[in-house]
Amino acid sequence: MLELPVLELKDVSKHFGGVRAVDGVDLGVARGEILALIGPNGSGKSTIVNLICGLFPLTAGRVVLDGVDISGMPMHARVTGGVARTFQNIRLFGQLTVWQNLWVAQNSGEQRRQNFGRRWFGGSRGARGEVERTLEFFDLAHKSNELAANLAFGEQRRLEFARALSAKPALLLLDEPAAGMNAEEIDQLDNRIRKVRDDGVTVLLIEHQMELVMSIADRIAVLNFGRKIAEGTPAEVQASPLVREAYLGTPEIA
């Protein structure tokens, strides 16, 4: 790899008491790719996302973003530094409007200067335009003045995705974005993730919905019991005996 990866996890571990939720994982995410992180329930996928975001400190190892060690940074600084995320269980600002949900998420340095301008009430023209374009892209423009709490489930998922993009991240972490969605919605999600990647955002996707994963992932990393057991293209991972074992169990007759 010639180009520096956007994100590197170097020998990252997280132990909760005696439980080794994540145990010595090395992972590199190359610029502009969609990397899917899969594994059975409890294999440590969400813990990795939380470690990258700084929700809790590492037990060991380093998290490097664009060549900068961010292991000790507080959450908000990592976001302004370029990592945004969605949550497995949606966490919107329910009593704010759809519009405001995106507005408060504009926290990159440039956006902050824009928003500190004259136009307090609707944000600066640039900020407003960004929010409107994002709402348009996620088909939420007609809901702009609704309270987020009043949206339907699918709309809330889209809004959270939109909110994560509002800070203009270099790396987007999607934690099970397809959970609870129907086939049509998954199709739209697939398209949106591709478009976001084409706009230059690197995506780390955690997902159980294998059809989606196999369709859009450039590479897949597989976790089991907090360890990385496989990494490669979708075809390579599907062929790996270790992965089959992790998902289906060991054959009884050898």
Binding site: P74, M75, H76, L92, L96, Q100, V104, R163, S166
Partner: protein, 303 residues
């Protein structure tokens, strides 16, 4: 007439106190320290006009800045704890301030009079208004001008991005951090603004009562401070005003004939209000309905 003007003054000052708690409450923090900031404002402003012979407005400004600075300093350690622990920490701070003024004596001799704070006896003879020929009406107008200015400032804040950020932190701190908001900075700033407003309120309070003492700034006052925005609702600043008018004007004065029973009614009413309207008297839904009622027809179909 003077009785009603006096009542109007009280309501004005309590509105300021309520607004100071409103700022902090927007970020989801329940602070019982507002009475402490109010006390600091009262003593600082009183000392400046009585002992240093300052004019009122600079004295109020300095009182507000001192209270705000104390709030900022208290905010950093206090806001590391949440929920019930924050309530305990802020009550402790409020009591510490009260006990400080219980012991604080700094007097100078002016003719036959001893001026300045005198420990448990309090701080008497804060006679700026009568000395400068302000009538009760003048004072009431002055208080409400200040209230209007503070409300206008907070209303603007509410409609700017800052207001949305404060509410975002109040709703979900983790989500707020995950979109890049520095929640410590936001919470401490809200506390500082709250302290600033409480300082102005306290400064005015000292001057219209002319006599302040530690016992006025206890937990009861702190409870009132958060009762206004909680009862009034956090959707906008007018809820706090409405609640201050309701509690001070109706419950405290209007029901005076009931004697001590009105306190029971006061508690009961807050419990009732919290059950019937958990988001306050003026909640977002009511505000929207009112806005729709007064909005021009074309907007109605657009929204």
């Amino acid at each position: 007439m003077d009785f009603y003007l006096g009542l109007i003054q009280i309501i004005g000052v309590h509105t300021l106190l309520g607004l100071s708690a409103y700022c902090v409450l927007l970020t989801g923090q329940v602070s019982l320290a507002q009475a402490g900031f109010f006390a600091i404002g009262a003593y600082v402003a009183g000392i400046l006009t009585v002992l240093a012979q300052w004019p009122l407005i600079p004295a109020l400004a300095v009182a507000a800045v001192v209270s705000g600075a104390v709030a900022c300093a208290v905010g950093f350690p206090a806001l590391r704890v949440k929920g019930l622990m924050l309530v305990v920490a802020t009550v402790a701070f409020g009591e510490a301030v009260r006990l400080f003024f219980f012991n604080f004596t700094y007097q100078i001799q002016a003719g036959v009079l001893h001026l300045g704070p005198h420990g448990a006896e309090g701080f008497r003879q804060i006679r700026y208004f009568p000395q400068h020929g302000w009538s009760t009406l003048d004072v009431a107008l002055f208080i409400w001008t200040v209230v209007a200015l503070v409300m206008a400032g907070l209303w603007w804040l509410d409609h700017s991005r800052i207001g949305a950020v404060l509410r975002a932190v109040g709703e979900d701190e983790l989500a707020a951090q995950s979109v890049g908001i520095n929640i410590t900075a936001v919470k401490v700033s809200a506390m500082t603004v709250g302290g600033f407003i409480a300082g102005i309120g306290g400064g005015i309070f000292a001057h219209y009562t002319t006599h302040i003492e530690h016992a006025q700034f206890g937990v009861v006052l702190a409870t009132f401070a958060i009762a206004y925005p909680i009862l009034g609702g956090l959707s906008n600043v007018f809820g706090t005003l409405l609640a201050a008018v309701f509690i001070q004007g109706f419950l405290i004065e209007g029901l005076r004939f009931m004697g001590d029973w009105r306190n029971l009614l006061f508690g009961g009413l807050i419990v009732l209000a919290m059950n019937v309207r958990p988001r306050g008297l003026l909640d977002a839904g009511t505000t929207r309905a009112l806005r729709r009622l007064f909005a021009p027809r074309k907007e109605r179909s657009g929204a």
